[in-house]
């Protein structure tokens, strides 16, 4: 039945013809977008929300930094410092995600008519 939803498999697929339902549109936009208010999970739920905002700001900083680099006018030393700061931020973010058991996809919010936050 619904287990077979692959219309065009990727060229390097190990097992063509199978779909992971949790990666389908049916499973993508779901519980991970909600804060879990169960007592044992509320800390993670709150961390997810806070880290989503932090990740949004981090990505905005990254994009702004790339725009500045592409526009030219920054010295090699300035680019090095900028890149180093961004790298440290990304590393710290990875540590926090690991600490709270979160994936990249968890750090997003469905804003309804406005689409996804990131």
């Amino acid at each position: 039945m619904t287990g077979e939803k692959v219309l065009v498999p990727p060229p390097d697929a190990a097992e063509p013809g199978r779909t992971d339902p949790l990666e389908s549109p049916a499973g993508r936009d779901v519980l991970s977008r909600r804060i879990n208010a169960e007592p044992e999970e509320v800390e993670k739920g709150l961390a997810q929300l806070v880290l989503t905002i932090v990740e949004l700001l981090r990505q905005l900083m990254e994009r702004q930094a790339l725009r500045r680099v592409q526009a030219g006018g920054l010295s090699d030393q300035q680019i090095e410092r900028l890149g180093h700061s961004l790298m440290l931020l990304a590393e710290r973010m990875d540590e926090l995600k690991e600490q709270f058991g979160l994936q990249d996809d968890d750090l997003n919010l469905n804003l309804g008519p406005l689409g996804n936050l990131m």
């Binding site: 939803k5 219309l7 990727p10 339902p21 949790l22 936009d29 990131m118």
Partner: protein, 217 residues
């Protein structure tokens, strides 16, 4: 607790399938709409393969009957009255949403660059910036070569978010049922002409990514 699967134009009959946890389907009707639900004394929802397919099975059965606005997995209401109230409150946007997706399905496209990105961490700030710029260029190339040409075969499209630095793109397309084969043919053509990309396409799905203008949760 009422678990919602989707909203359809008012249904004379329900499809002969069970819902989450084997729950029986019931319809909450208003003048022109039916919300298809199951009633549960207690429901401990877990996003796992079995539950995701149980939800999808109901939605697909509804698709066989006509247009449907699928609810996101895990959409619940406290009571039937709350469902009916939501239906009545949002009737206009729901009817517009149903008209928009009528005769269409969602196809999910994933494109990534081959070979996969090297994952070794950047040695310094300069290298990190160069990695970001390279990923951005690859992503822009993917959009130009694969994502944009397929829009011609779709009614609408929505790009999903990807992590920064990741050179893959996920896009959902709303495609008329009779254009699905043409769309897939175009995916294959793009794949053949762009060996440096890996394209995959799944579906047909209910239009999960195209319900947001209508409030179904």
């Amino acid at each position: 607790m009422i678990y919602l699967y989707g909203i359809a134009p008012r249904l004379p009959d329900l499809p002969p399938v069970c819902g989450i946890g084997g729950g029986a389907l019931e319809a909450v009707d208003t003048e022109g709409l039916s919300a298809v639900c199951s009633r549960h004394a207690q429901l401990n929802l877990q996003l796992d393969e079995k539950s995701a397919w149980a939800h999808e099975r109901v939605v697909e059965a509804l698709m066989q009957l006509g247009p449907v606005l699928p609810a996101r997995f895990g959409t619940t209401f406290d009571s039937v009255d709350a469902v009916r109230l939501a239906l009545e409150r949002e009737a206009q946007s729901l009817e517009c949403g149903l008209a928009r997706v009528c005769g269409c399905v969602e196809l999910a496209l994933r494109v990534r660059s081959l070979p996969p990105e090297e994952s070794s961490p950047a040695a310094d700030g300069q290298a990190y910036v160069q990695d970001l710029l390279r990923a951005r260029r690859r992503r822009e190339a993917i959009i130009t070569q694969a994502v944009e040409p397929l829009k011609e075969f779709a009614v609408s499209s929505k790009e999903s978010a990807t992590a920064s630095g990741e050179a893959g793109v996920s896009v959902s397309y709303l495609v008329r049922t009779h254009d699905v084969e043409r769309f897939c043919g175009e995916v294959r053509r793009i794949q053949q002409e762009n060996r440096q990309l890996a394209l995959s396409c799944t579906g047909p799905w209910a239009p999960y990514s195209f319900t947001s203008e209508a409030a179904v949760s």
